[in-house]
Amino acid sequence: MDLSMLWYLVPSVIMLACGIYGFVTRKNLIAILVSLELMLNSADLNFVVFNRYLFPGSMEGMVFSLFAIGIAAAETAIAIAIIINIYRAIGNTDITEIKKMKF
């Protein structure tokens, strides 16, 4: 039995689909951020898998994944700062109750 590239890409696709489902159905801002992280992770995994199977001699996919992880960390920190600010303004983090850009 061979572990070909397909074997790693199928869980990645399912992770992406779960992320999309959560992004559409969830109403809580933090839960939406969790779904976003799932989608970002499946993209990172794809970079690494393509790097390993198609271009095993180089490491560009790994470098891109490293940059993606760094940027995801920055993005999550800012998003959580915004969520805490919203909580301070309206008392919860439900997206259906956020109607104004400025309080």
Binding site: L9, A17, V34, G70
Partner: protein, 175 residues
Amino acid sequence: MDSVGNIIVYFIIAIAMIFFSFKAVTTRKILRAATYLLFVLLAVAVAYFQLGYQFLGAVQIAVYAGGIMVLFVFAILLTHKPNDKSGLIDSHRRTWGIVLSGASAVVLIFALFYMPLLHGASLMECMQAGGEITMQQIGEAFTGSDRFQYLLPFEAISVLLLACIIGGVTIARKG
């Protein structure tokens, strides 16, 4: 032909990824969703280790499982009561979610099985072809400015992180 150990590890991480990512978006308790996300991140880190990218797996554990999850738990405990359950999803939203995620999954899986290049080498052949990536190679790739070297993005990301610190403090500050 891959070794039995590799195949067993693959099945463990694949089942963990699928199961926990499914639970992370369907559970109604937000703290549990964050915990399931942590398990997904750890499974992805194990996949990186298995593919031979030890440094990337270590970064995934340190930054995602160590840093981002702490931020998540911090934010959840600041904004929710511990036993809060989110309300039931209305059927309209659920239909949209199932349609969109199902459509994207079907299209992507069709594309995957349609591509001819996917039925190629096994993991063992690729690992032998690529060899180990040493820390020195990674360091040289990040600190040079030639082809396939990434000094400029590396510096840009440090400025981005500085901007992120200042922005986070400015946004979350009271008043």
